[in-house]
Point group: C2
Chain length 282, copies 2
């Protein structure tokens, strides 16, 4: 997905929000915005939003001098999601369509997103999402491709959400590579977060090699790109990965909650809608 | 009022909104945002918001090659306000407190503000405002200072609103200098707009010499600054003038509708509240 004009004020809002969460003072935050301002003209609209996001959150890391400024928040969310894990497993086992329920659970986890909002009650969000209808639903197509694949490439998004990804991977029950960010960016899931979420028990955890808040391929490692190129069936979680991959020609199923006006316009849906959209290689 | 961090993303949003209204294409708008980005680091938070607003809207003027890009919209609003004029005069003459009603009418006119929103039904806004309670109401203080002044300096804000200013000036019934912007900026009232609004019949119309969307004194002419310094009783309309003058040490009464989160925080009120706030020379 290209960057829309409306993304530009939003980058500044995200930087201010991140600075608030991390207790960065007003003058330092202003300096961050000054630096962002200087970058705008180096960022054509043809770039995807996570490409600039990568630069913003890199600058925030530099400014705090903390390589993982959201660590405590991520650990809190993973802990809360793990607390809910047994009940969700029980719920899925009793449901009429366990795979569909597990997909909705994985999407509910996508509400844990600090780029958009820090106040999210995971349990509330879960109950709401389970009752919600999809605005885009390519479940039939998903099941067809799933039946014909040996292996799944699953691109993670946020920490905490990762526990719900584990639940979906358990339900899919196929060899899975779970992709994490190379280093911490916002609250996105890293190798350690994936381990803490229990993903090591159900998937091979692999770093994309990238520090962007979305799978921006040109920032990924060659090792990862080989895996990506060979994969025939991809599940991509969240907005950032959608923004980075929506123009690819591969079998990708995007699971996300539409949270911003730009995504909403791109997908022709409403804010808060849940999306299960497939694109394919043909 | 100082510039808050939250004003910075809003400057970009305002530029995008203005570009949309003026049918500036996406690439040219991006170029405008690029240029804005380069200015952020030259704008300390100690500046008032209209100081940067002045630069933004100057750039928009340059980009369109049109010295008065909002001309048609301004004329439409003046025409609509003039259509309502006889009924409003009738309403005021029948009201229990004609001065208070005229003040509310003048504030209702402040809803005509293209920096914030272009969709405003003036008549609806008027009816709503007349029923509304003030969040800050210094009417008692206002009447005291009014009784003790010979002359009024009245700082206009938007075109269209200017017709409602005329109604308040008629009600105040004292020699009045009505201050307009030197050249068009957004839909702010200029000399010609004031003439078209009928203000020539009730006030001496004077240019501030400034092209900022708020009375930024350092951008005003020496001629105007002499008038300002000698004035003992000032009425200031709207957000932009409030932002520029709120730290002055003079008898100023601010009439405005609080439209943005930053003003709301500065005044400790809610979005949509109507404000009648006096500051004074002592």
């Amino acid at each position: 997905m290209k960057t829309y004009l409306d993304c530009i004020p939003c980058f500044f809002k995200q930087a201010i929000r991140a600075a608030k969460i991390l207790n960065i003072d007003e003058l330092k935050t202003k300096k961050l915005l000054d630096e962002l301002g200087l970058l705008i003209n180096q960022m054509p609209l043809e770039s995807t939003p996570p490409e600039l996001g990568r630069i913003i959150y890199g600058k925030i890391r530099d400014l705090t001098g903390n390589p993982d400024p959201y660590k405590n928040l991520k650990q809190k969310d993973i802990k809360e999601a793990l607390r809910l894990y047994p009940n969700i497993k029980e719920l899925i086992s009793r449901s009429v369509d366990p795979l569909m329920t597990a997909i909705k659970v994985a999407i509910a986890g996508n509400s844990i997103d600090f780029a958009i909002d820090t106040d999210c009650d995971i349990e509330d969000e879960l109950n709401k999402t389970l009752k919600q209808q999809f605005a885009i639903n390519n479940f039939g197509q998903f099941k067809y491709y799933l039946n014909n694949t040996y292996e799944i490439l699953y691109i993670g998004d946020n920490a905490g959400e990762s526990v719900f990804d584990k639940i979906l991977i358990e339900q899919l029950n196929k060899p899975t590579i779970y992709v994490v960010r190379e280093i911490p960016v916002i609250n996105d899931v890293t190798y350690q977060d994936a381990i803490d979420s229990g993903l090591g028990d159900v998937a091979t955890i692999v770093s994309s090699g990238s520090d962007a808040p979305g799978l921006v391929l040109k920032t990924c490692s060659n090792e990862f790109l080989k895996i990506y190129e060979n994969s025939k069936f991809i599940i991509s979680k969240g907005q950032g990965n959608y923004e980075a991959l929506s123009d690819e020609k591969k079998n990708i199923f995007f699971l996300l909650k539409a949270k911003c006006p730009v995504i909403v316009r791109d997908l022709d849906v409403s804010v808060g809608d849940i999306i299960f959209k497939g694109i394919n290689a043909e």
